[in-house]
Symmetry: C2
Subunit: 264 residues, 2 copies
DNA sequence: CTAGAACCGTGTACCACGCACACAGATATA
DNA sequence: TATATCTGTGTGCGTGGTACACGGTTCTAG
């Protein structure tokens, strides 16, 4: 068997990528560049200028290397983004296992942690999830959340689905908030101003007979609220409601199942 | 007041875009191309080849025009995508208002409708939502869902948040399913095969001491299931669980509020 | 009726990006 | 020491979005 570099028969090469599972080269010059350095500067760039600031040329320039040198350590830009995604949750403060049995508080704490790192790396929510995490840091993150959810009484597969639901919800909410804030800033207004303008435009354009419910909602003055919040970024205004409803749902679900029998 | 074409002072130019609010030109040759034709062929292209098949050059070629001619009718590709997003939900079969008071059934029907059009236009879930819909079709869609949610007893703003939560959840689930199915197909396997391979790779790589919960989950043989479903695409396998939990949560929430007082 | 304003679609070009490929120098194995 | 193997470089291709100036067309004002 001559060691031919097979491109990983398909067996989840993603895992191989994220865990850095390559046999180290035996010959040739010692590499000055490293995959880690590339990912780090890419992340620094994204933190500073957003995802659209991350191009292969830009990352290379930042490092003082040629564009093509990156491809020695990373197969494609897609791979780089995957590595960035995993590394983004590296600094996540993983909650300790709880001693009281309060799984709900545990999940809430997990959500707050997630929000914290996503606020530290806003670009991360713009890289769409494509399944459960596979990298070392992503799995650590998953482990922490899964622990609490399993404690709630969910079955394993249900816990995973719920975790994905929570993760997607957090990410969507943060992404939308980011987007809206950014486009508002482009027009030189605050988020609240922009929202109010948007609401007025919609209101002018819709026919109350065709859109009775929406009209009524506008009548009630949603979107007109003053920023009653104390802090600017707040802990998690619009994120709290959906998360709480999901947790309500889980709570009701496990309670009902415990009460009733477990028929097929 | 000379009619200077102001670029819409910022007042939600998105609405103006989506509703086609431009005063018709009074001079010049009759346009042969139309915004509608552009959007239609772009959608046809996306249906056939996915979003990455949609480039300005490609759309123009399909129509038999020059690339730049499109920019007479559409300000940018971003705008084209926004128009496509709105038009995608055009064919949505909007459920009739219910006569029984079963709001939960109403919301479920709304979700099924959404899934139907998203399956008809898989690319649509890859254009990220950036807030509540603003176009005529999107608002029609919103109206239908909002009607049922308001009937449940939610406040107006809560209903909107819930609707966004549901929409995001449906879209995320469908997008992830699409993505996973596509990457599996690229490696020449079915979705189930690919998932199993992935699970095996992860399992090989993680330390049970560091990832006790995940290890246990793998031990239980999640990801190993045979496709016990009857139909191939099924109505909504992985989508049903999260949606039901959310609805459980709403139900519990409105019930609890009705029971307790409404203290601040 | 005619001049010019307003508008349509075209042609040309620019720039950014991802990446293929061949190469020169470095290095460890045989 | 010869040689296979590896590292970073340079060059260049193809594709994508879009700015800009232009010739031709149509409506309106004088």
């Amino acid at each position: 068997m001559t060691s031919e570099r097979q491109p990983t028969p398909g067996f989840a090469r993603e895992i191989e990528l994220l865990w850095g599972l390559k046999e180290a080269p035996r010959r040739g010059p010692r590499p000055k560049l490293s995959r880690e350095a590339i990912v780090d500067t890419a992340i620094a760039l994204a933190d500073a200028e957003g995802l659209e600031g991350v191009s292969m040329q830009r990352v290379a320039k930042e490092l003082g290397y040629t564009t093509m040198s990156l491809y020695r350590h990373v197969d494609s830009k897609e791979d780089l983004l995957a590595l960035m995604s995993d590394a983004a949750v590296k600094g996540m403060p993983v909650p300790e296992p709880r001693t009281d049995g309060d799984w709900r508080a545990g999940v809430e704490e997990w959500c707050r942690s997630a929000i914290t790192i996503y606020r530290a790396h806003p670009w991360a929510v713009h890289i769409p999830l494509s399944g459960p995490p596979g990298g070392p840091y992503g799995l650590r993150w998953m482990e922490a959340g899964l622990r609490e959810l399993v404690a709630s009484g969910l079955r394993a597969d249900e816990a995973i689905q719920t975790l994905m639901l929570l993760a997607c919800t957090l990410r969507d909410a943060l992404r939308i908030e980011n987007d809206m804030r950014r486009t508002a800033a482009e027009r030189g207004m605050s988020l609240e101003e922009s929202t109010r303008m948007w609401a007025q435009s919609v209101r002018r354009v819709i026919d109350p007979r065709e859109f009775p419910t929406i009209s009524r909602v506008f009548e009630e003055g949603v979107f007109e609220e003053e920023p009653t919040e104390t802090a600017d970024p707040g802990p998690a205004e619009d994120i709290d409601f959906p998360v709480q409803r999901i947790l309500d749902g889980i709570e009701a679900y496990v309670r009902d199942r415990k009460a009733g029998g477990d028929a097929p």
